[in-house]
Structures are given as C-alpha cells and as structure tokens.
Amino acid sequence: MEVSIENLSKSYGFQKAVDDISFKVDTGEIVGFLGPNGAGKTTTMKIITCALAPQAGDVKVGGVSVQQNPEEVKRHIGYLPETNPLYKEMPVIDYLHFVAEIQGVPKAKIRERILEMVNVCGLKAEKHKKIGELSKGYQQRVGLAQAMIHDPEVLILDEPTSGLDPNQIVEIRELIKKIGREKTVLLSSHILAEVEATCDRIVIINKGQLVADNTANNLRKQAQDKEIVKVTIEDGTHEEIYQALRAIESVELVDVLPRNTMAFEIQSRAGMSSRRAIFRMCADKGWTLTEMTPVERKLEEVFRDLTVTGNTAGH
C-alpha cells in the first residue's frame, strides 16, 4: 500500500510549516525522512496519519485520500508520534488490549497479537507494569508495540529509536527492516547513520520544502562530482612528490595532510579521474604507493550542504 504526498501545504498563522511537498513511498520500501528541527517533518507525519487536516494538497494512502475517507486510511496506518504519548496509569498489557480493540483487531486474534508484540518488542518482563513506571526506552517499545499491534500496511514512525540503548537500537532497526520488506515505512530520525543503515531512500526537507529525494548513494554522488583520493607515497622527498602530483594533468588541487607528511589528498578536475595517472607516475619515478583510498563524502556533509545552504540563500 503506497503513500503519496501530493503538493501538501500547511501553515500555522503566517509561518509555513509545510510548503508544497510531494513525494511517494512505495510498498516494501523504507523511506527516511530528514530535516533540521522545525523543518516540517512532524507536521507532514501528522497529516498523513489524519491527526491534522492539510490546508492544500492531499495525501493518499493506498489511493484513499485522508480528507475524503480518514476512517479508511486510519485503519491501515500505525503511528508512533515523536512525543510517544501513552496512558501512564495503564498496565502495558491493558493498554495494548485497548489499542487492539480500537484498531478493530478481531476479538479472537487480540490475545495472539498482544503476545506477539510483547515478544517482538521485548516487553515480556514488563507487561504487567504500569506504563508510567517504565523507563523511557521501555516506553518507546510500548509506543512501537501499539503502532504495530494491528499489523498495519503503513507505518509512520517519528524518531522511533530515540531513548533506546545501543542494543535496542540495533534490534528495533532490524525489526523495522523486516517489516519494511512487505510494508510501507516512513521514519524520521536525526541520526543519519541510522537512516543510512535502515532506509532504501532518503527524503530531506528544509523550511517546509523538499530539498532532496534519492538513495543515500546517489545523494552522495550528486553532491560529489569531483573525485577525491587520499594517497600515501614513500621513497621520495616530500617536495618532489608534491610537485610531481601537481604536474599531473587531471589534478586540480593537492592538499598536504598535516599529520602524516607523506599523505596527500588529491582532488581531480570535474569528471576526471587521476588514480591511474598517480600510479603510473609512482612507477616511473620508482616511488612506492602505499595507500590510495577514495574519499567519500559523508551523508552528514550532504545533509549540511542541502539544509544550511538553503538557509543562507534566503538571506
């Protein structure tokens, strides 16, 4: 069941929270939803889950509009809000029972679903405790359990791993990946490594506008049209090597790395590669090439470029 966001806009007063955003999430796909604080991620997710009405545009879940038939849409969505609101005075198992009932899980299957969620989310020892007595990480698990209790086609998760310890984060990521094979998952996160590890595709928004929609690899490539390699060359003097590197036709810039004097970072001209030339040069001069690694731009840098330049462009 695919989710398509179509020209969605929403403003609070004069401030535009979401400004004409469109993207799609297909079945069997996990999409990471990124953006700085206040970019409009949560607002978009609230609109998808029918907690908020859009001002312009529409969201369709399995072809059904959230404005025309919210009841139908709600049946297929599992939602974990960022603030993870729970009835603190209720025991875990009673709460899950309540959510299962209200989601319309058939009576005969409720027990089975609760047990499965308790197992999957690791709540076995805590199931009879009151939610308010649990630690933040366990409450987060309860939040995940309630979102998945009716085995929804679409999962909308607003920062699902916040408050979890590293082991739990790995477990939950695996769980999300497993679910994402058959279901449609949209998750927001601040942790870029997490998004890279779990998501098939990344959507980045900034100030309510869509700035990128691509796979992590493509995003990196897009941002990096010039090849950068790090090389270490031995058996020659530093000055000689430096000059020889600069003499290569395709090399645009040679950066001396301070810590290891024999290491250089070489940026090639746009669309050109210098790796073969560097190797040949070393062979000709009798130097030894002990390291050559392509320098990949980190997703963090791509993210910064996309969201910070957007900021400065406005000034």
Binding site: A51, E71, Y87, E89, M90, I102, Q146
Partner: protein
C-alpha cells in the same frame, strides 16, 4: 457503538484505578447520608417517609462532584498528547466524546445505585410515593447528564484540569442558581426567559413526581448543546494545531 463502548470501558477503568471513583462514591454517600438521616431537615425531622431531603442534598453534592469527574476527561489527554494519538485510530470525534460522556454518566449511575438502600429503608418506615422517588432519581440523572455535558465541554477548551473544573462550575452555577434567582426576583419577559432556563425549576418539578415533556426537552437541549460544543472544539483543534 462498539468503539464508543471501548472508550467508555477505558475511562471507567481509569476512574477506578485512580481511586477517583471511590473517593467520589464515599464522599457522595457520606454527604447525602448525613443530611438525609442525621442532620438538618432529615427524614426523622420531617416525619415523612419520603426522599425529598435526599434529592435536595444530592442536587448540590452532584453539582460540585460532576465537574471534578469531567475535568480531566479531555484536558489531560490534550496535555499529554494521547488525544492526538487517539484521533489517528479509526474512531470519530463523536465516538470519543460519546464514550467519555457515557463513562462519566455510568459512574454517576453506579453512585446513585448505591443509594437504593435509602429508598428501601424509607419504604420500610412508612408509605412511600414510589413514583415520586422514581421521578426524583430520573431528575438527578437528567441533571447529572447536563452537567457532565457542560464539564466535558470545558474540559475540551483547556489543557488545564483546574481551569476546566472552575469553568464548569462557573457555567453550571448560572443554570443551578443564578437564572432561577434572577427569574424569580423580577418581572418581564426577560426574567421569565431566565426562569425558564433555570435548571432548578425543571429539576424541582421532576423531584415532586411530575414529568413534563418540557423538562425532558430542556435537559436534552443542554446535553446536546454541550456535546456539540465539545465536537466543535475538537474538530477545530484538528485543523489548526
């Protein structure tokens, strides 16, 4: 209907889990019992086998207790954000409102049911006007439903329980007392209009054992107005927040 009942069940459990229900029941039975049997114009002083004094005192105790029951129904859920999660489940605003209304109403029903021994005792003492007692209880139920509806409305307006409580009392006191006082103390069409809006007039006519369709329509209108107001506030929160 099923969805309404699911919400009602949860609210009722919350009432009893938080001890709210027990405190309410004990205080209500204590107050009404004290004034019905022991103090003031009690059954023995009046010397009649009737529950008039009980209905008189319940009229006031429920007036104060009901806002305490309803104050958290929506305000707490808005404050903690659970309402936002609830509206993403396949339930309508009306089902949420009806479920919560029903939960508070059932709590009042349980409380009033526990006073049935009073009736049995009085019936043992002398000849009781059974229909008057029945009408009296019916009047209390109608009155309770009206104040629950008002309390639910004030609870939807704010995130603060205390504000919801005081606002419900403030709106309630007009129906409970002020309209009646003003309507009775001056003349003219406006005064008679206010007198007609007074809840006490309608309640008293019922407590005397007379049922008039006018009274029923009056109570039902207050209930409906409160629920409609609540729905209006909830749906506006959807589109603006």
């Amino acid at each position: 209907m099923n969805k309404i009942w699911i919400i009602t069940k949860r609210e009722l459990r919350a009432f009893f889990d938080s001890l709210m229900a027990y405190v309410m029941i004990v205080l209500f039975l204590g107050f009404s019992g004290f004034f019905t049997w022991i103090f003031g114009s009690d059954v023995f002083l009046v010397g009649q086998a009737s529950l008039q004094s009980f209905f008189g005192i319940s009229y006031w105790t429920l007036f104060f207790f009901i806002p305490a029951i309803t104050m958290g129904l929506l305000s707490e859920e808005q404050k903690s954000g659970t309402l936002e999660l609830l509206v993403t489940k396949p339930v309508t605003d009306w089902q949420i409102i009806a479920g919560k209304f029903l939960a508070a109403f059932l709590l009042i029903c349980i409380t009033l049911a526990l006073t049935i021994p009073y009736y049995i005792t009085v019936a043992g003492i002398g000849k009781v006007d059974h229909s008057a007692v029945l009408m009296g209880y019916l009047g209390l139920l109608f009155m309770s439903a009206s104040y629950i509806s008002i309390g639910l409305f004030t609870s939807s307006v704010t995130n603060n329980q205390i504000v919801a409580f005081l606002a419900a009392l403030f709106i309630g006191i007009f129906f409970h007392l002020i309209f009646g006082l003003v309507g009775g103390s001056s003349g003219g069409w406006f005064a008679s209009l206010l007198g007609g809006l007074s809840l006490s007039t309608h309640y008293e006519s019922m407590a005397r054992g007379v049922i008039d369709s006018k009274d029923v329509v009056y109570f039902l209108s207050i209930i409906l107005a409160g629920l409609l107001g609540t729905e209006l506030i909830l749906s506006r929160r959807h589109s603006s927040n």
